[in-house]
């Protein structure tokens, strides 16, 4: 009876463990177990080998522990002392060598994967990402002007051809090398399904090379604690087929057309041309921090808002893009993202609802036609 019960407990534990492992393998939005980039795939391949070795070690050692305890549990009748064994040098040398062999195998496999993941092919497309508290900026350059041997430095002579934020567009099937920089504190660039983490360090450029294998929109995070709103510093990697990527590049480089049109938001009618005037109004301070290409808005503190109407997300990729969410953000960004820098200036009530509606209409009016892939 007791033995039955024990067997049931063991069986239940085993089943529960298998369920847990399987649950870990579901294709969730940010899982590292379903990969669509060569960097992450090589890591996953290595992990699976190490995982099964770990399972073997776990079973052997944990099994030995449990077996020893169960077998040598004291019997109430035992009156004599157990044999006083002080050790056995041969056995001890053996079990010093055994883990050494295991880690040697893991080390060799590790170095192989590490070498493959450190390669920066010369044909790679070089993109620069700059991390800010608490959003990601992406800069694209004329590829003739960049080399992989020296860091890209942005100055008067070398300006990016495209500057955007939150959505990082890349072509599929081509190696991408991202130069990772930080404007303020340390951040960390992580696209779980595509590539492992790399720090973004103020004063030091890091590089990460990966190739995306399937079109899709991939979740990505800042993985290093970077202050109050760290939890809400995300971005999205949008991988497009090469032709569509080129089309996106060509379109996004154009100056947006003059703002026209209206949107219905907050129960009001927002007017894009009024919004454009508000944005340019120095008293409203929008242009102090933001850039919109082709206008006098040249602030460099916040993200470049050109073609905001085509972004997939807002506020550091924490709100899906919609005119309602854009209006909510403009009304009270502190309620959505505690600590965000805009919220220190544009607080709840700083802008009237009509102003919010007009700004929303203006920002939403700058749209590109991009056929977005599915979220992966």
């Amino acid at each position: 009876m007791r033995k039955d019960a024990r067997q049931k407990v063991v069986l239940a534990t085993v089943l529960a463990s298998i369920t847990m492992v399987l649950a870990g393998c579901a294709n969730l939005p940010a899982t590292t177990m379903y990969t669509y980039g060569d960097h992450a795939t090589r890591i996953l391949d290595l992990l699976m080998i190490v995982f099964w070795m770990a399972v073997a070690v776990f079973v052997v050692v944990q099994g030995a522990l449990v077996y020893t305890v169960v077998r040598f549990r004291n019997k109430p009748a035992a009156t004599t002392l157990p044999k006083q064994i002080h050790g056995n040098t041969k056995i001890e040398i053996a079990w010093t060598i055994a883990p050494a062999i295991v880690v040697l195998i893991i080390a060799v496999l590790t170095f192989r994967t590490q070498a493959a993941n450190s390669v920066m092919p010369p044909e790679a497309i070089k993109i620069r990402s700059v991390a800010h508290q608490w959003w990601f900026e992406f800069q694209y350059f004329n590829q003739d002007g960049v080399s992989l041997s020296t860091p890209i430095v942005v100055d008067d002579q070398n300006q990016p051809t495209i500057t955007t934020a939150t959505d990082m567009y890349v072509p599929v099937g081509v190696p991408i090398t991202v130069q990772l920089d930080a404007a303020d504190v340390m951040h960390n660039f992580w696209i779980p399904k595509i590539a492992g983490k790399t720090y973004m360090i103020p004063g030091k450029s890091n590089y990460l090379t990966f190739t995306v294998t399937e079109p899709g929109i991939y979740k990505a995070f800042c993985a290093e604690f970077c202050g109050e709103a760290h939890a809400q510093m995300h971005f999205r990697l949008i991988a497009l087929p090469a032709a569509e990527y080129e089309a996106w590049k060509a379109n996004v480089s154009k100056i947006p057309a003059a703002a026209t049109g209206t949107v219905q938001v907050l129960g009001l009618t927002g007017d894009a041309s009024r919004g454009a005037a508000l944005f340019a109004d120095a008293k409203k301070q929008c242009a102090t921090c933001h850039i919109i290409n082709g206008t006098d808005a040249k602030g460099k503190i916040g993200p470049n808002l050109t073609y905001l109407g085509s972004r997939t997300a807002l506020g550091g990729a924490i709100l899906p893009y919609s005119v309602d969410n854009l209006a909510k953000w403009l009304q009270d960004s502190n309620a959505i993202k505690q600590g965000n820098l805009m919220g220190r200036v544009i607080k709840k009530g700083t802008l009237t609802d009509q102003e919010v509606a007009d700004l929303t209409a203006y920002l939403d009016s700058m749209k590109l036609s991009v056929a977005l892939p599915a979220e992966k």
């Binding site: 579901a26 006083q84 064994i85 079990w95 590490q114 303020d184 590539a195 492992g196 590089y207």
Partner: protein
Amino acid sequence: MAIAEQKLTSTAPTTKESFQWRSWLATVDHKKIGIIYIISAFIFFIIGGIEAMLMRVQLGTPNSTFLSADLYNQLFTMHATTMVFLVVMPMNVGIGNYVVPLMIGARDMAFPRLNAFSVWLFLGGGFLLYLSFLTGGATNVGWFAYAPLTQTQFSPGQGVDYWILGLGLTGVASIAGALNFIVTVLNMRAPGMTINRMPLFVWMNVVVSFILIFAFPTFTVASIQLLFDRQFGAAFFNPALGGDAVLWQHLFWFFGHPEVYILILPVMGMISEVLPVYSRKPIFGYSFVAFSGVGIGFLGFIVWAHHMFGTGMGPIANGFFAAASMVIAIPTGVKIFNWIATMWGGDVRLTTSMLYAIGFISMFIIGGISGITLASPPIDLQQTDSYYVVAHFHYVLFGGSILGLFAGAFYWFPKMTGRMLDEKLGKAQFWLMLISMNVTFFPMHILGTEGMPRRIYTYESGMGWEMWNFIETIGTFFLAFSVLMFIYNVLVSLRSGEVASNDPWDAATLEWVVPSPPPSYNFLHIPHVTSRRPLWDAKYPHTTADDHHGEKSAPSQIRYEYSHEDSPGAKEIHMPTLTFMPMVLSAGLTVAALGFIYINQAILGLPIRTASYVFVAIGIVMVFYAIRGWVLDSRRDSPYLGHH
């Protein structure tokens, strides 16, 4: 040797005796100091646990608004700081303080007053750290405090300064304590107790003391550089002014990784005492266990950059640190195999203490295995800064250190208090704690693999993280309940627990020779030691013949001592007298540190800056007063210099 009736002394301290504050606040007795450490560390354990539970409630559901982002950031920073510096370290030191002199047959630590200074300074540091919650917010930059987030530009409050100076004080306390341990063990062992006869717990305390002396100064210097950055614009770690942010990481982890071994090695020492006693066998491979501890101590200094694989050190440096980190698996594996072999063929008695020791090994195996994947740079790049790491170090620090400390607590509680803890309640607590810690921490492996980053105060729904987070939160409540069971057990057992004899576990080492609790001078007669298990060999002389692996030992002459404070001959034993000076010195340093925090904050008003100068001045006066008093007290105390 006074052999009297066992009843005479092995009873618990009589409750009629009024509790004397003075005898505690001015104590220089290593046992009382040890108990102050243990009680303080336990209180901090409860505080750190409450912080953890608040965080778990916040994370139990997506988009929760239970805590604000800033408060959550303060809590996770203080939870880690508390558990590392104010719980596991002082708990190890407290138990070591109590047990090590007894184990080596000494009457006290080598520097009793320095010992008192350490404990009060540790409390001063803890006080400063927690004071910051009331003075505008605790530090919220993580216990690793990566530059340049720690610069005043990004962290304008005083939380970081409180943290630097609070840890500075506990750091001085730790270094003083480590020196004390080293000198004590090297100089004050009973006759015949060679280095190779020392109990393994003593061994590990010596190893840890050396690690501390080499590792802690790096942190102290780095944090003072940071203080200079913040107070005087020194720019050591500020890249905007030409400093180097990565340098902080190197300095921090050069301390921070050996720190991990500071947390775990003494506990491994405890396990190495507990397992043989409850297996009724000697430790299997004494030398392997001792020297693997030494090996871990050395290797611990060349692996620090495995915390930094993602910082762009390059494949060569990453490869070196990966290889060194993996090598640590070897001595660690050796210890685990030796522990299992210690039980093999033994008469394994599953007391509560033994269950905790076995639980320690079992959980440490999991923590060790998950550590291997983190040692591999490519895998680490996916797992680092995700919940996988949180799972890993909670298996090592909770499954390892905390379970091991409970093993030590149930083992030595009778010696410290003269009462036994309730075994039935203890076993129930063990099973509840073991299960609930797995419910709390195991799903974190999965969450990390599913891409949940660390140190986030909230997460959106639809990521597939909801279920495991909710389960973890439930787990913490059961974990908290198991700690409450322990508190109840202690309180009840102190009043009405079974009275403990000198040697309730049929143990082997010298602390079990003396009464429970021991008299202030420990040993009426300093024992002569002839083997690794002096008490065991005295009890079971026929077993010493098997002693082929170690050195040959002569039959031991050790006998139980049933002495008490009034035993004949006790008056002849000279013990240092009570003195408040170590406490005054610690208080002076704490007051001066508190003043220094506000000394150069331009944004603060003149009254606060004036007050800060006054605090620094008062602190310095207290320090000099205490040093003078300390010197006079020691003169008075010396049998050679003072009165007689």
